[in-house]
């Protein structure tokens, strides 16, 4: 019997829990989006409309257009200025519209705004451009020692509340794991109007080049080990808040998908595996998932979702263990071998 892989996420009926996560190299070109759909993507989250970058690009373009201008009689300018200028946001919206036109699967837009007003304004325009849903990518590195965590949490909540008030789109919030009490935060966001939470954002983490003594941008792709963090929190949150949960980070094998679904994820977002192995890897994941389900005589994904959440698992205390000593006591060599896996 072929198992039923379908699931629902943010009210969207999806053919499988395999959703392409937000990453520019995966979603900037239409041809790539089409390849992902062919490979079985159930939905695609576009890369973020990143407003800070857009502002920076506008200022850069302006600066370069002015460089050297009106200085020398024979060369009053150095670049032709186009009469039509698709600012960064226009470009994103155009791309979103085109993606919607040429794909049958849902297209989820992603937004990283700069100020509360801008979040709302951009969310409206994304809705008008036809997005199937919107993922709010709320993240900043707070470095101001005067800024309290309560203020940061209130701001996140406020952004969700304001966007919710203005758009009818299904709304997911992609979160950082660094909240003092993530459970409380999840509740506040659900109350503010989030339909789903994406756990978690993986951040740009700079590295140090020890030869040149410079700080270098370094984007590391996830490994299967990374899924432990979302797995725990999905298990803890599943069934406790009225939101869908999406797992992000560390989905590389069909069994990873199985684990996260068991923890309570409605969908799993895949990025690293696709960047490493290409869009076709999605088909492989789907086959591995289906095989596992068949081998274990599970008829549908829906049966699996949340079966190992904290509320339903046989040993719920394991999810709350935090102490190193207790973890060591629970350590068994067989676990270690399994954790190494083929990677």
């Amino acid at each position: 019997m072929i198992p039923d892989l379908s699931t629902t996420y943010l009210g969207l009926a999806l053919r499988s829990p395999l959703v392409v996560g937000a990453a520019a190299p995966l979603s900037e070109e239409l041809a790539q989006l089409q390849a992902l759909e062919r490979a079985g993507a159930a939905a695609i989250v576009l890369h973020s409309l990143f407003e800070e970058q857009i502002e920076q690009e506008q200022l850069d373009l302006h600066r370069h257009a002015m460089a050297g201008a009106d200085s020398y009689g024979e060369a009053l300018t150095y670049v032709p200025e186009p009469s039509i200028f698709h600012g960064g946001e226009d470009l994103y919206l155009r791309h979103l519209e085109q993606a919607r036109r040429c794909l049958a699967v849902p297209v989820i837009a992603s937004l990283n705004g700069t100020s509360p007003g801008r979040w709302v304004e951009s969310a409206r325009r994304i809705e008008a451009a036809g997005a199937s849903a919107l993922e709010l990518n709320i993240y900043a590195i707070p470095t101001d020692p005067e800024l309290s965590s309560a203020a940061i949490e209130a701001e996140v909540e406020e952004i969700v509340r304001q966007v919710r008030a203005e758009v009818r789109l299904p709304l997911a919030v992609k979160l950082s794991p660094f909240f003092t009490n993530l459970s409380a935060m999840a509740r506040r966001l659900a109350v503010a109007g989030a339909d789903g939470l994406v756990l978690f954002n993986r951040f740009y983490q700079p590295d140090i080049d020890i030869e040149t003594m410079e700080v270098r941008p370094n984007l590391l792709l996830s490994t299967p080990h990374d899924l432990r963090l979302p797995l725990r929190w999905i298990a803890l949150l599943h069934g406790r808040q009225p939101v869908d949960l999406a797992a992000s980070g560390g989905v590389h094998r069909g069994t990873d998908v199985v684990r996260l679904l068991m923890a309570g994820a409605s969908v799993t977002q895949v990025v690293g595996a696709l960047l490493r192995h290409g869009p076709e890897r999605l088909a492989g994941l789907e086959e591995e998932l289906a095989t596992w389900l068949m081998e274990h005589e599970v008829a549908s994904v829906a049966e699996l979702v949340g079966c190992m959440s904290q509320q339903r698992c046989p040993n719920p205390a394991e999810y709350e263990r935090a102490q190193y000593m207790r973890a060591i006591q629970g350590y068994r060599p067989a676990d270690a071998r399994q954790a190494q896996g083929p990677w």
Binding site: L61, A69, D70, S71, G73, V79, F85
Partner: protein, 1107 residues
């Protein structure tokens, strides 16, 4: 082009070329405006129609099209370069419907019917023989006879549509005028303005504006003159040396001789004089007009001696005494419009002054009934360039086609200018002086030069100041103070009520910047809002100005006489006052003059940290302006160094025990920071501190000056002792290209400087027109220099199109001289006694190996000995050999230019010279765009790059010039990128120079037109190589002789994607914002081509598989 004009006319092909008339390269190139180029075409058979103002240029463009189609003659529609082409004026443009009305449908159909078509084939361009050519030439006469009537018709038609009537020859003045000025072009406007002022004073003068120059309608011209005319001055804006007069003068004389009696009967023929004015945009002012009218006055009085004919006006000809004297005070009477605002703005190119002024004209011209005019004067530098904007606003039409002489408002946007220029010259009493000052008012007043303060006091000037840089920076505008200063101008000038002005500026910001994004709009609005709060009146009447005036140093102290007397005034913007005798008659200019400029344009300059430096020489190598230099010497020579002069023990074992120093010419630095970016040495405990770091220039200036002077007098390291393959040693060679006016961070000049270090003492350079000719030869000063022995590159710029051939000629001449010298040596060896010319000396000279520095030094010594022996001899051969002996020492010929030269306009010649087999070295400074003229696409422009003429991204791939040259098999070809592999660049230069045949070096040169942060220029070069977009290779025919593969691929396989590299440069990135899909497609295509090219080169660099 000129032969094409003959063809166009000969075949009666309607066509209109709109020409901004400019000077021609003679004793020097000039880009500025006069009629030299137009007059060179006057025999072509093309019609020439001249407009005199911006409004006329628009109107005549349409008239010329109708005229050409109806008359079948091709027309040049000409207007004055810069004065008209670059002036901003309030005009009434023709509407589309008016234009349509003017286009003759029947003639367009007839024109199409005459076109070549295989459906009705004909033959044109036959070769005609003595039997018929002459008659055929005469067959067109009726078309020329009919053309003036077509012009009258077209002008009348336009007049009906617009209410602006014109005539082929427009006389302006009273019907009783006795003295008439005849001229064409923008000078007509000034002449009319001045004549009207003279008429108001009772003088019987008039002006005849010539619109139709070809076909010259003599009868119409004479009919336009009032019969009262007794004396005529014809002014030409060109010079035709050796002619009996300039072209317009000769034509007017002929017209009068032929037609006067027929038109005006027995009225005596007027006397005619010819004069020249306004060459190369030289100012033409009402005072000059008056001087010409005055010059005619004796012709009205019987018995007076005839005044000088073929005079000049506007210069001081103290050599042949042909210039007319000017009355310096005469301008007083010519500005009667009290309501006119005349504003002069002194700014930098980089601060946005000109852009702000253009916006101000737009705001006033478009939004009010006022007339507006703007004209902008730029200097000859591309870094730290000074701009002077001349803006007039008023209720009456503005006809003053000359710079403002009596401003009502002066703005100084840069504090440093208060000492450099006579800012308040001619300012009207009670005028406004707006100053961008970093100081508080009292301090500002105390720091102003007394000359300026006394002008302010004497004329009761209202002084206002603002710290514009502070306001702009706070608003996020960086160094662009345009919006801030524009706000202050509107607040102070009274052109518009303040509130209305600000509403209009706000609207202007929103409309001009909206499409560039909210962030740009917001930044400008923030600057606008903050401006007025910071504008303060400097109430000088209450301030003490008794303090001592700061001493002004004489920067030309110790300079050669020519620099002091000729270049000095040019540097102070007083070059117009130099007399004819001051200037070289053949354009020959001394070398090494840039060092006297001391422009002090950098806010920050590099400072060397002697303790951290690894003495690698990279900062010295990349410095585009040769302001960072290194020397090594015995510790004793540093004993007398000024306090604070930094030194370090030399690290290179070759200089064990010696002392090393790096010094910075802080006053010549542009502050580009390229040096800091390439510095590899860091402080381990604080890595942000490198071995060279930028620091504010002003506090360092005095100390750096003393250090630099001491550094210059330190002995140079003997060249023959240096290992040129080690950058640290090679960079000890003295650069003979220094302090050019190139852009800060220029990617071209490091290559030129390197060549000057390696070979400068034996270099002849033929430089194609382009950035390198402007950096290399734009007056007042030039960067090419000589060493202590007086040797250095001898440089000349011919044209864009003939540079390779020009240099080839140098090579041929030098080879011929060398051969003559060898022949003479041979003959003398047979004639002279061994003690007069020792046979071993002659043999050593003949057989000298000059393959390296040491060999050249030895040959120079031999030649010196030979010359010493020849000096006293009487034999004709000995005297001749004495003259030619220097040719026995190796001389390199370098053909230098950009991609516009080598890939495009000069390609045919370059190809010809490469094929010749002669020993020349072509250095192509490849910026992948016509940089000097503002970024037009060349065949070197890569696919996907946005450039002028490729605004949608260039659709064709970059031409592979190197591969084409390799097909000869006899040309040394190399491709380099200094920022990717500097030692490779040096190796290539050495190999190219040593190759005894033609060499071609294609050098990747980052450029301001690429839209990059110029401080990162070298990193962009590396990225070009890392992505595979630019290959490093050497093709050396000598390797073939040794049985090796001639091509060596010196760059590795691409390590990053082309897309990633292209994203880093605005020229590629901006296409995403206008045509995103096209941008993606072009990148994909370019990536495929890159892979294919890489595979091709890799295959060529590998041994061919055995068959």
């Amino acid at each position: 082009m000129i032969p094409n004009l003959y063809k166009l006319a000969g075949e009666l092909t309607p066509a209109v070329l709109h020409v901004a008339a400019r000077s021609l390269a003679a004793q020097g190139l000039s880009i500025f405006g006069d009629h030299s180029d137009v007059m060179a075409t006057r025999g072509s058979g093309c019609g020439i129609l001249c407009s005199a103002s911006v409004q006329e240029a628009g109107d005549f463009a349409a008239i010329a099209a109708r005229l050409s189609l109806r008359s079948r003659l091709p027309f040049l529609h000409v207007f004055d370069g810069f004065r008209t082409s670059h002036e901003i004026q309030k005009i009434e443009p023709l509407s589309d419907s008016q234009l349509l009305e003017l286009m003759p449908a029947a003639e367009i159909s007839a024109h199409r019917a005459r076109a070549l078509s295989p459906n009705r084939p004909v033959i044109r361009g036959t070769s005609q023989n003595p039997d018929v050519y002459f008659q055929a030439r005469e067959s067109v006469n009726r078309f020329y006879d009919a053309a003036p009537a077509h012009l009258i018709e077209a002008m009348a038609r336009l007049g009906e549509l617009t209410g602006r009537p014109y005539r082929p020859y427009d006389y302006v003045g009273p019907a009783t005028a006795e003295r008439v000025l005849v001229l064409m072009g923008s000078g007509c406007e000034t002449a009319v303005e001045a004549a009207e002022a003279l008429q108001a004073a009772g003088e019987r003068v008039g002006v005849l504006k010539v619109r139709l120059f070809r076909p010259f309608a003599a009868r119409l011209l004479v009919e336009a003159l009032p019969p009262s005319t007794r004396a005529i001055a014809v002014l030409d804006r060109c010079k035709e040396p050796g002619a009996p007069g300039e072209p317009l003068y000769l034509d007017v004389v002929a017209a009068l001789a032929e037609e006067w009696a027929a038109v005006h009967g027995a009225v005596p023929l007027p006397a005619v004089l010819g004069g020249r004015y306004g060459l190369s945009s030289k100012e033409f002012t009402p005072a000059m007009v008056k001087a010409v009218f005055d010059h005619l006055r004796p012709l009205l009085v019987p018995g007076q001696p005839r005044p000088l004919n073929h005079f000049t006006v506007g210069i001081d000809d103290d050599l042949t005494h042909r210039s007319l004297p000017l009355d310096a005070d005469v301008e007083q009477g010519f500005h009667t419009d009290a309501a006119e605002v005349r504003a002069v703005f002194y700014g930098l190119g980089s601060d946005g002054t000109v852009g702000a002024n253009k916006a101000a004209i737009k705001i006033i011209g478009e939004g009010t009934d006022l007339y507006a005019q703007g004209y902008f004067v730029y200097d000859s530098k591309k870094s730290g360039s000074v701009t002077v904007s001349h803006l007039r606003f008023g209720p009456q039409p503005i006809r003053s086609t000359y710079l403002i002489q009596r401003p009502t408002f002066v703005a100084c946007h840069q504090w440093d200018f208060v000492e450099r220029f006579d800012l308040l010259a001619g300012i009207e009493p009670g005028g406004v002086f707006l100053l961008n000052s970093p100081f508080a008012p009292a301090d500002t007043w105390a720091r102003l030069p007394e000359a300026l303060r006394s002008q302010i006091r004497a004329k009761g000037i209202q002084v206002q100041q603002i710290n514009a840089y502070q306001v702009a920076r706070q608003a996020g505008m960086g160094p662009h103070i345009n919006t801030v200063m524009q706000a202050c101008f509107f607040a102070l000038s009274g052109v518009l009520p303040r509130q209305e002005a600000f509403t209009r500026i706000r609207h202007s910001i929103e409309t001009s910047y909206r499409r560039k994004g909210e962030a740009v709009v917001a930044m400008n609005l923030a600057a606008l809002d903050a401006s007025l709060e910071h504008l303060v009146r400097l109430d000088w009447s209450s301030l003490d100005d008794s303090g001592p005036e700061p001493l002004r140093e004489d920067r030309l102290n110790g300079a050669p006489d020519f620099v002091r007397t000729v270049i000095g005034p040019m540097l102070e913007r007083r070059g117009d006052a130099l007399p004819v005798s001051a200037l070289p008659c053949d354009g020959t200019w001394p070398v090494g003059t840039a060092r006297w400029e001391k422009r002090n344009i950098a806010d920050a300059v590099p400072v060397w940290e002697s303790d951290l430096c690894v003495q690698c020489g990279k900062c010295v190598l990349v410095c585009p302006h040769a302001v960072i230099r290194a020397k090594v010497g015995a510790p004793e020579v540093f004993v007398a160094a000024p306090e604070g002069f930094r030194i370090a023990p030399a690290r290179d074992p070759a200089f064990a025990g010696q002392t090393f120093t790096i010094q910075v010419a802080a006053e010549d630095c542009t502050g580009c920071a390229l040096c800091v970016e390439v510095c590899p040495a860091r402080d381990r405990s604080e890595p942000k501190r490198k071995a060279i770091n930028m620091a504010p220039q002003r506090p360092l200036r005095e100390q750096a000056r003393g250090n630099w002077d001491f550094f210059l007098q330190l002995p140079e390291v003997p060249r023959a002792e240096l290992n040129l393959h080690k950058i640290g040693q090679q960079q000890l060679q003295q650069p003979l290209f220094e302090f050019s006016g190139a852009c800060g961070g220029c990617g071209e000049t490091p290559y030129l400087k390197l060549a000057s270090q390696l070979f400068g003492d034996r270099m002849l350079i033929a430089n194609a027109t382009g950035c390198s000719s402007i950096n290399g030869g734009n007056l007042p000063t030039t960067p090419w220099s000589a060493n202590a022995e007086g040797r250095g590159p001898a440089w000349s710029n011919s044209l864009f199109e003939d540079n390779a051939e020009f240099g080839y000629g140098m090579r041929v001449a030098r080879d011929q001289q060398r051969q003559m010298a060898l022949d003479l040596l041979e003959r003398l060896a047979g004639q002279l006694e061994p003690d007069e010319l020792p046979p071993p000396l002659a043999a050593a000279i003949r057989n000298a190996d000059q393959g390296d520095e040491a060999g050249i030094v030895e040959q120079r010594q031999r030649v010196a000995e030979l010359k010493a022996r020849l000096a006293g001899m009487e034999q004709p051969e000995a005297r001749q050999l004495l003259e030619l002996a220097d040719a026995l020492v190796k001389t390199n010929v370098w053909l230098v230019g950009g991609d516009g030269w080598a890939y495009d306009i000069g390609f045919g010649g370059l190809d010809h010279v490469l094929a010749s087999g002669r020993d020349v070295n072509a250095l192509v400074l490849d910026t992948e765009v016509y940089s000097n003229t503002g970024g037009q696409a060349s065949k070197s422009t890569p696919r996907g790059a946005v450039a002028k003429f490729a605004a949608a991204g260039k659709a064709a791939p970059k031409k592979d010039l190197g591969l084409m040259a390799m097909t000869y098999g006899t040309v040394y070809v190399a491709s380099v990128a200094m920022g990717a592999r500097d030692e490779h660049t040096i190796r290539v230069f050495l190999e190219a120079e040593s190759y005894p045949g033609p060499s071609l070096i294609i050098a990747y040169s980052h450029c301001i037109a690429h839209g990059i942060d110029m401080a990162q220029g070298m990193a962009h070069q590396k990225l070009a190589v890392d992505s595979g977009r630019w290959l490093l290779y050497r093709y050396d025919p000598r390797r073939t002789e040794r049985g090796e593969i001639p091509l060596q691929l010196d760059s590795p396989a691409p390590t990053c994607s082309l897309k990633e590299a292209m994203e880093q440069e605005n020229r590629f990135r901006m296409l995403r914002y206008s045509q995103p899909e096209r941008a993606q497609a072009l990148v994909r295509q370019a990536q495929r081509e890159l892979e294919c090219r890489w595979a091709t080169y890799r295959a060529l660099a590998q041994p061919a598989p055995k068959p």
